[in-house]
Symmetry: C2
Subunit: 148 residues, 2 copies
């Protein structure tokens, strides 16, 4: 019983927003999710982000949300902003299918690398990335300024 990976359309945005909430809860940060479904609709239509979804029995059970960015050291870079599989659907290889499709998309778009972030306490995720031979960098801090 496998999953189908496909490009997300506008119709998937409510489910994508739900999955972001599920991940935010897992990351103990639900209160930080303030972007609304309407924000997602407007920004998706503007092409600011794209998404791959994993579907099983016509239901979306996971997603990778990404956009093109730039590394001044390496060149064109694909950034994986959010990556989540519904909790009850984990441990079945769906995350690997999604991640493989994300990496294939990055290569198809001629990116030199893919980048993402992971919480330092999120051991299952870190193990997954290490299994995928990712480089994990521990020496950078994030700076942020919020406007509203």
């Amino acid at each position: 019983m496998n999953a189908t990976i496909r490009t997300a359309t506008e119709d998937d945005l409510p489910t994508i927003h739900d999955l972001v909430r599920e991940l935010a809860i897992y990351e103990k940060a639900e209160h930080e999710l303030v972007a609304t479904l309407d924000d997602y609709r407007q920004d998706f239509k503007a092409g600011i982000f794209q998404c791959l979804v994993a579907e099983r029995e016509k239901e979306v059970v996971g997603m990778c949300l990404y956009y093109i960015t730039y590394s001044t050291w390496k060149g064109k870079m694909m950034y994986l902003e959010d990556f989540v599989v519904r909790e009850q659907m984990r441990q079945q290889g769906i995350g690997q299918l999604l991640f493989d499709a994300f990496l294939a998309k990055a290569q198809q778009l001629n990116c030199r690398l893919a980048k993402w972030q992971v919480f330092d306490w999120n051991e299952p995720a870190i193990r997954f990335y290490e299994k995928n031979k990712a480089t994990i960098e521990k020496g950078w801090w994030n700076g942020k300024i919020f406007f509203k």
Copy 2:
């Protein structure tokens, strides 16, 4: 003696590439800079990144290189990829002028936040960001997969 901040054009790319090298040397990572000036030209023309430059006496002495990304928690986000002022021109307020112009540009583009990364050992930069009331997050690691 102040600096003028303006949007970069394609003609500035050689200087921008030089400034990236200067920053990479400061960050002890010159060997990691493999993107060429030709890469910059192609990717700048494709609209993948933009840049503000600080000019003094018709010479570019600093820059902020950025692009629009997306926070699934907050919405539209401006990402500061590289920010550098030539070493001999520091401590004169040019960095602050550039950073202010970067934040103004982010707000003008209706971003909800600005984000960047800083090495955990780069105390002068961290002090600068703290002075600017930035939030510094220390709990995230970067994951990367390189394709070539």
